[in-house]
Symmetry: C2
Subunit: 382 residues, 2 copies
């Protein structure tokens, strides 16, 4: 069975295209060893920026004023890409009309939230202790819970979290949305224009392509393996093999996945089958926070820079069949673009876009490097 | 039937996510109209650079010296990502061994060529008249022909082209390769480190993912529509609708495709069913050259800059079933990252990587803008 979780990563069978897969080899290829060490980036940002639309007490684009929040803060994006209301559009496919067959379209509605991770303008997740990331995870859980279909088997599990994110009313929208995508774009290299620590949460009617593909694979595996979770089995295998493991605690495993496309791609996955954030108790949430800080801190230490990445959480859809929800397995992807140093990145371009990804280092090499980057953050914690 | 040609573009049904698809609307959204005009980029490069490894007569990384070529020049990449020889690796899937099921890998061999488009260091495809792009298309055809499986129905069609690319022996390698990916990464934004006009050609054993997906859709359509070509039918439809057409000549159609992901994504496709470059006669090749120059010149004119992009040709595999080869339809994709100006780009990051692409402008808007950018190049042709 082909573990094809992300279309962007494609065929894990083509692992390490160009050099024979050396399982167990932790040898660092020469350019990595000899790679120029860039000078460490310095924190030059203030803790509070009067011009930042995310800082506590500041004005936003549409005139709203942020509260003087002390932990996290959530609001509806002032420039939402997906809108709550939308002209209905759906064309019926008519076998006699080529246009209706080839040019299909349908409208999507949804909601785009922004969630700040800290009131402090110049901190990142890598700067925070797990206890200060916990409120972020609690906020994610609360927003997820508020959007869950009342018919979902998860609706009964979810309890009000102990901490509410300061911010707007996040109670369920009028329409039932199907998918919630929690993600963070960090760093200018990943299209992020504001360094204030924040992520986004988009909900939509209908499953996006990645979710559809992933859920399809998870459901198929569960069906063919008498109810097992593909990712629980995968986690077990990686714990045995060890070579791609970066970090682990009681609840979570951090690996450079077998099918990694980005040079330092990382995945956090729950060791036991957890369908969604609501399946985690507060101890487990703290373990998740620790895993997140272990990834982001190692990233920063690797090239002594504030490491750019896009990260995102995949979990059960807000609404789906019982089978889809039971097959879902909570995990988080990190896609970082850097390859050799703070300034040398990997481009996923021509061959990658037209044919398929080709990788420059193996996940085993990446994992070995990230294992060696543990400990305190290279720059002083403020 | 869902026109899903590229996994990177995903579901055309989700066209124009966030705003209702307005077919026929050519209205340019306000930020595009008001968008700041960046100052035109100036040509500051010399026509010959003694430090360039692609200029005629210069030394390359492994010590080889380039001939004093006058049109095109092809050589095997000094840092090939795919190698001709490789340790055999293929693990049999054993249902009782989880590892063999989940961690699948196989080795890939192949060959990576570099092809210069002109001896002139400071020209780009946009600067060349079609007659000077013709030798590039002839070189692509010749290299494709040299790698064709003798068993392919295309082997009999292909005639020696009138012009041979100056360069190394490109006769078939020892192993039969399955796929040839012709592509160009143009501009630093697309990972290109040398401005000397050039592209790459990689051949591999096995079909890469995009090819697999595309061939699957083309073959399926052909089967379900009594032998018709999906892309010929699509071209007909676009010629009727007109709103996404950028340019056309007797042989080729240039459209912003219905399912475009990149803001100014463009596709060149043959109006009639052509399986591969070898199906084009010299007049048709010249029409292809004209289409290429019409795309790249309009791109440059759009933001008065040397427009970055990745482009690539999809055509019949070098080796495949007769059905796969007959279903193939020659076309060329252009994926450019710019959105609003020479310096404001579109990032395909968080939501795009974790869920699915969302677009900022519609293909109809993009096509209208590109239609208006025709004529001579904004900068003086050297
Ligand atoms: O082959 P080049 O020009 O050295 O490298 C460029 O194209 C390759 C193929 O698309 C990519 O894998 C590289 O990331 C990119 O920098
Ligand atoms: O929402 P933002 O931060 O304005 O925009 C960023 O994230 C979006 C979602 O991944 C992307 O579509 C944009 O291209 C990117 O610049």
């Amino acid at each position: 069975m082909l573990l094809k979780l992300m279309s962007v990563t494609f065929d894990p069978a083509k692992k390490d295209r160009g050099t024979p897969p050396k399982m167990g080899s932790h040898e660092i290829i020469s350019f990595l060893v000899k790679g120029q060490q860039e000078s460490a980036s310095k924190i030059t940002l203030p803790g509070y920026d009067p011009a930042c639309y995310l800082c506590p007490g500041n004005k936003r684009a549409q005139g709203d004023t942020n509260p003087k929040y002390t932990k996290t803060f959530v609001f509806v994006n002032d420039y939402s890409a997906v809108k709550e209301a939308q002209e209905e559009y759906k064309q019926e496919a008519d076998p006699k009309d080529l246009s209706s067959l080839l040019l299909r379209a349908e409208s999507v509605t949804g909601k785009c939230y922004v969630l700040t991770f800290s009131p402090n303008h110049n901190l990142t997740l890598a700067d925070l202790p797990p206890s200060e990331i916990l409120p972020v995870i609690q906020a994610w859980t609360q927003i997820y819970t508020a959007h869950l279909s009342p018919k979902s088997p998860l609706a009964s599990v979810s309890q009000p979290t102990t901490l509410a994110p300061t911010g707007i009313d996040i109670s369920a929208p009028n329409a039932q949305h199907t998918w919630m995508q929690i993600f963070e774009n960090k760093g200018a290299a990943m299209g992020c224009s504001n360094p204030h620590p924040h992520g986004q949460i988009w909900t939509t009617t209908g499953l996006p392509e990645e979710a559809l593909e992933e859920l399809g694979q998870l459901t198929k595996y569960r069906h063919e393996h008498s109810g097992s979770s593909l990712l629980e089995d995968y986690a077990k295998l990686e714990m045995e093999k060890e070579e791609r493991v970066v970090f682990q605690n009681a609840t979570f495993l951090v690996v450079c996945p077998w099918w990694a496309t980005w040079p330092f791609e990382v995945m956090i996955l729950s060791k036991k089958h957890k369908r969604a954030l609501v399946d985690l108790n507060d101890t487990e949430k703290l373990d998740f926070a620790e895993a997140i800080v272990e990834v982001t801190r190692r990233y920063d230490n690797l090239f002594q820079t504030s490491f750019p990445y896009s990260s995102g959480i995949h979990q059960a859809p807000l609404e789906g069949t019982d089978e889809e929800i039971e097959a879902s397995h909570l995990h988080m992807h990190f896609y970082p673009p850097l390859l050799r140093s703070a300034t040398v990145r990997k481009f996923l371009v021509g061959y990658e876009l037209m044919a398929e990804p080709q990788r420059d280092i193996t996940p085993e090499q990446a994992a070995a490097r990230l294992r060696d980057c543990g400990g305190t953050l290279y720059r002083k914690l403020l």
